[in-house]
Symmetry: C2
Subunit: 246 residues, 2 copies
């Protein structure tokens, strides 16, 4: 069966998350239903990351096996046609050999977290960012965040429901930058724990507000205790940015 | 009565436009109702531009007279409180003397029109841009647009329902730039005719697609005939950008 790598953009707002669940509509179900409408047969979509409810994607990587070779452009356009009016779009479909697996072949995932740092409520960016009213020192956030880089036991920044075998992960890079009133947190790793980026964002905001010093973030990491984490940032600001393959 | 200049951001999607109308909710009504909730008395809001249904604003300028001096921060925060959950936000409130009028004192208005130039449908930017699937040559659009600069009879680019006394306006500047898949059309003038920017956008897209040459845009302008205009671009891509005062 021909395998297609799909690059998928979506607005997480109306979904229970990437993964198919009984309690509501998922991105996976929208994509699989569209594939079924195209092929007349069920198909399973696998993704590089299983984003939570409300989390967005600029370029989620996924793959799907279709019963015949429709051609890349036809796959992209037909899936988009059948997904209307859901806010999910296949940006590209690329033929791949069977040894490509969107989840298991992925060597690097990147996320972005967007904070709009202002007092007035959000209008144009409602649902697309976390509004934080208190002034944030992005430079202090960036500096403190560097303590998270490297191989660590990230128990502090891991949801209690996280199903990963080990809390030890290697954070390859993290940066905090400001453009106008928007603060961007970007990070990359081979893989992430459940709620890891939102836990980072919540804790880094404490640094940005001046409630935590860099040493407090380091102490939270070293505590290896979920209770040492600041309140987890809301899903609205989180974007799956990119999946890299060898 | 103390007068406040308000800088207002809004998502035009749920509104019939800036101006109060019988057929639905307007930005003006949301703002005036919030002022009434704050003061217990009716207040009228005047704006630099009366945007159409679905048109957004990054920084609409407006003014409103309140029965007492609440202080700038209180006015901003109280109006924002009372406007929830409507997608309208007062970014700032500034005390002004009675000779300031958001509409009549305005010497320059700026608009931005956003096109996402790609084949897949919009998800994160749905309602916030016009998707154009055919590849657009932004440089050709920019070059052709320069013929619109200056004092002209803009009958071609004016809605038939436009109530302005004269179709003659002076376009101060217009630019077309590309950043990734987004094409921005930005223009500024003392004032604009009804549907003028959306008429420019629709016609410039014909240039970008290669259907019109620069000479065709010039001929359309010189025709002074509404029928010479290309189809008007949808409201979703239009943003009131800025109002300048002397």
């Amino acid at each position: 069966m021909p395998r297609y790598k799909l690059t998928v953009e979506y607005h997480g707002g109306p979904f229970v998350g990437w993964q198919r669940q009984d309690n509501g509509l998922s991105v996976q179900a929208v994509l699989e239903d569209a594939a079924r409408a195209l092929c007349g047969a069920p198909a399973t979509a696998h993704a590089a990351g299983r984003t939570d409810a409300g989390v967005h994607a600029f370029a989620m990587a996924a793959h799907i096996d279709l019963p015949k070779d429709y051609g890349e452009d036809v796959v992209r356009d037909a899936l988009n046609h059948h997904m209307k009016p859901r806010p999910v779009a296949v940006l590209s479909a690329e033929a791949r050999t069977d040894d490509f697996h969107a989840r298991f072949s992925c060597v690097r995932r990147a996320y972005e977290y967007r904070i709009v740092n202002r007092r007035p409520p959000l209008t144009l960016e409602a649902g697309l960012a976390w509004r934080v009213a208190e002034p944030l020192d992005a430079a202090a956030m960036h500096q403190a965040a560097q303590t998270l880089v490297g191989r660590h036991d990230f128990t502090t920044f891991r949801a209690s429901a996280c199903q990963a075998d080990s809390p030890v992960k290697t954070l390859e890079e993290i940066s905090v930058t400001r453009a106008g009133e928007t603060v961007f947190i970007r990070c990359a790793a081979r893989s992430f724990l459940h709620h890891q980026v939102r836990s980072f964002a919540g804790s880094l905001v404490e640094v940005g507000r001046g409630k935590w010093r860099a040493a407090d973030l380091k102490a939270a990491l070293e505590a290896r205790d979920r209770k040492a984490c600041a309140p987890v940032a809301p899903p609205d600001g989180l974007y799956f940015l990119r999946a890299d393959y060898a």
